[in-house]
Symmetry: C2
Subunit: 182 residues, 2 copies
């Protein structure tokens, strides 16, 4: 029961539904219209994902007959709310920076509403710590290898370094934002 892993899209749906019970079509519109969603708005992604979550008892959908149009509104179950919060509370590992950065930002975007300021700050501090370790490592790799690289390889790597530096500065900025309010 609930033993199967929840993918990225699944958590995105849990997060959206935790804020606002919605139909599959509502979700689609969000993914099409907001620039945040790097998610596919295709029905072949969303509807099966909702059904999987329902099969895992993490969401429940009920057909609303109030409007004449068929609409199936999904809501989080208590189990779904728990799974969602556990996902948010996962520690930030160094590995996440390299291969799952999108997940981290997705998690953070839900953090404040679900866990409050304390949770958001905890997350940001962990992220800043990982970035503080990773950026010099990456910069060092860049410096020691740039001689052997073709120009576009060299530049592509520099783009990566700049991206992580931007993230580090952003995390400091975000912490400052929180800090100034408390």
């Amino acid at each position: 029961m609930a033993r199967s892993t929840i993918p990225r899209l699944g958590y995105a749906l849990l997060g959206l539904l935790s804020q606002q019970p919605s139909s599959g079509y509502d979700i689609r519109k969000i993914f099409t219209q907001t620039p945040m969603g790097s998610f596919s708005d295709s029905p072949g992604a969303i509807y099966p994902a909702l059904r999987r979550l329902e099969a895992q008892n993490l969401v429940r959908g009920q057909v609303s007959s109030s409007g004449l149009r068929q609409r199936k509104i999904f809501r989080l179950t208590p189990a779904g709310a728990t799974a969602f919060k556990q996902w948010l509370k996962r520690p930030v590992k160094g590995d996440d920076l390299v291969r799952r950065m999108d997940d981290l930002l997705l998690r953070f975007s839900f953090m404040h509403r679900a866990l409050g300021e304390a949770g958001a700050v905890r997350f940001l501090k962990a992220l800043r710590e990982e970035l503080t370790a990773y950026v010099p490592f990456l910069r060092g790799y860049y410096n020691s290898h740039k001689a052997e690289l073709a120009p576009s390889e060299h530049l592509a790597l520099e783009s990566g370094v700049r991206q992580y530096e931007t993230l580090l500065r952003w995390s400091e900025h975000a912490l400052a934002t929180y800090g100034s309010k408390s």
Copy 2:
């Protein structure tokens, strides 16, 4: 024949093999050791991918018996070299920025060796143009919606804006690098 789509990993392999004929294990080491590869170094990803490329006649592997250890070295076929270059030459679409940024940077990293300076510059100009249009759009969305957003949503969106701004500045920097040499 060769009608099936080549995924991201497939192109990464074509690119690496175009620079240096390698075994699956060599590829794994590259993915484990270099911070560039956001690719999985798992054998279950790499070996099947190589076999698919071989089935599509894009690479060919031959067992080297020189060393006593078993090693299967893969090389690009002419068809593989063509497919790879066509991938590199694809136009940069606005959609790529949102959902396939990784692909764009992967393509760029191979660009210079495969297409020379002219190809790299052409790509960078197209990328800069798309970014120049997209950044103000994103910034506008950010400004007009930040009032309704929870703090961490707001900050997560700002992180995205900063990332794209960094990319835009990087693309200008990269063009300047090329420009100063020609």
